[in-house]
């Protein structure tokens, strides 16, 4: 390796390289970093996948009633949050937004030229786009998706809690947290560093008691400090109790 170096006048000795490595210390990965990355990847895939029907078949008449109730609940929450909130149809394609900002063959942001080892650019969309309902409160767009992670029934608290959480029950809390994140994180950053837009995907692990056990974030690396700040806000979320632990994938878009 490095045999093509044609100049030798500034080479470091082996001792110097060792000392440099020791004093220019590197951060080591934390435990189960791989697991967390794969969790975020899985939730990202789930958020981008088309809606799938529930596992237990629901009679069509009952399904219409449930959809109507969910819509009514969402509208009621929208009215409650503020007059500037309005329902919006947001198209979310299976091409993720972060990668779509850069050529698919150049995953590193903001750089030109083909990435090594990559083939010619090709479309990354592997399935047709899906249309998701989302709420946009002035500069925050949230599209919560709910993925349930079953736990042993024995570990569930003995409370009269609903069987599972749903987007309809989680959505209002998530929207309130996103509004907090907007005022605590996005607006201070946007007032100084002039980002036009930032998108990040959060994965919340909510305990049966309703506490946020884990928050993972991906994206928005172009806005320093935003992901860490937003994670802090969402970590303080309180949800209704449930019989199961819940994992929620929440894409959040901040727009100036």
């Amino acid at each position: 390796m490095n045999e093509d170096l044609s100049f030798q006048d500034a080479l470091l000795t082996a001792d110097e390289e060792r000392e440099l490595a020791a004093r220019w210390s590197a951060v080591a990965p934390s435990s189960d970093f791989a697991g967390r990355v794969l969790d975020v990847w899985a939730s990202e895939r789930a958020a981008l996948a088309p809606h799938t029907p529930p596992e237990t078949p629901v009679p069509s008449q009952r399904r219409w009633v449930l959809q109507g109730l969910a819509l009514a609940a969402t509208l009621a929450v929208g009215v409650g949050i503020g007059t500037r909130l309005h329902m919006k149809e947001e198209v979310v394609s299976s091409v993720d937004q972060t990668t779509a900002q850069t050529p698919p063959h150049d995953p590193a942001n903001g750089s030109s030229g083909p990435a090594p080892g990559s083939a010619a650019p090709s479309a990354r969309a592997s399935s047709s786009p899906t249309v998701l309902p989302s709420a946009r409160a002035s500069s925050v767009a949230i599209t919560p998706r709910v993925e349930l992670v079953a736990e042993a029934a024995a570990s569930a608290p003995e409370v009269a809690a609903p069987q599972t959480r749903s987007a309809a029950t989680i959505g209002p809390v998530v929207r309130a947290l996103a509004v907090q994140a907007k005022s605590k994180c996005w607006e201070p950053i946007a007032s100084t560093s002039k980002p036009e837009r930032a998108q990040l995907t959060l994965q919340l692990t909510i305990s049966p008691e309703g506490l946020v056990r884990l928050v993972l974030a991906s994206g928005a690396t172009e806005v320093p400090g935003l992901a860490t700040c937003v994670k802090g806000v969402f970590a303080g979320g309180r949800f209704d109790p449930s019989r199961e632990q819940t994992v929620v994938s929440v894409p959040v878009v901040f727009v100036r």
Partner: protein, 192 residues
Amino acid sequence: MKVEELPPAVVLRCIRQDPVAFRLLVSRYESAVFACVSRVLGGVGDVEDLAQETFLRAFRAFPTFDPAGPARVSTWLLTIATRLALDVRRRHRTSGAIDPGLWAPTSPDPEAALQRHEERAGLVEAIALLDDDQRAAFVLFTFHDRTIAEIASALGVQEATVKTRLHRARSRLRDALRRDGATSPVRAKDAS
């Protein structure tokens, strides 16, 4: 930091976005990516967030990775990591988060001021004084054993440019090391 490359069969499974293969990929390269990101970042930004973003971008882009191409998976990952880290440093600098006094001394004669600063600087300051491009080239060459050609491709510059950056970075660090060597308690203890 030498990292054994993934077997071709695992790379092919990564191209098919197999989660099991992705786990192997992360486990194999996480130390190298963390080391690269943390050294290029130099204390600005969240290392774990950026390392995570490196792997997520790789996962998304894997279907376009050419296993028969000239690049190794490790070089490809380090390219993503380096570019992300450099991007964060640039944004920190424009937002004033990196102390401009370290890299752009204000003086009637900035060159002379920088030279005087370098002459006094210890190793830690010398590392901080490296400009972003020198820092990235040096980290990839010295700590990750990338070739000049690989670094040129990763940074999108000519090989001659990489050599110049490496030469300057190594000269600065070597001088700082030797200055530190005269006063470093570690060296003094070792010598005794």
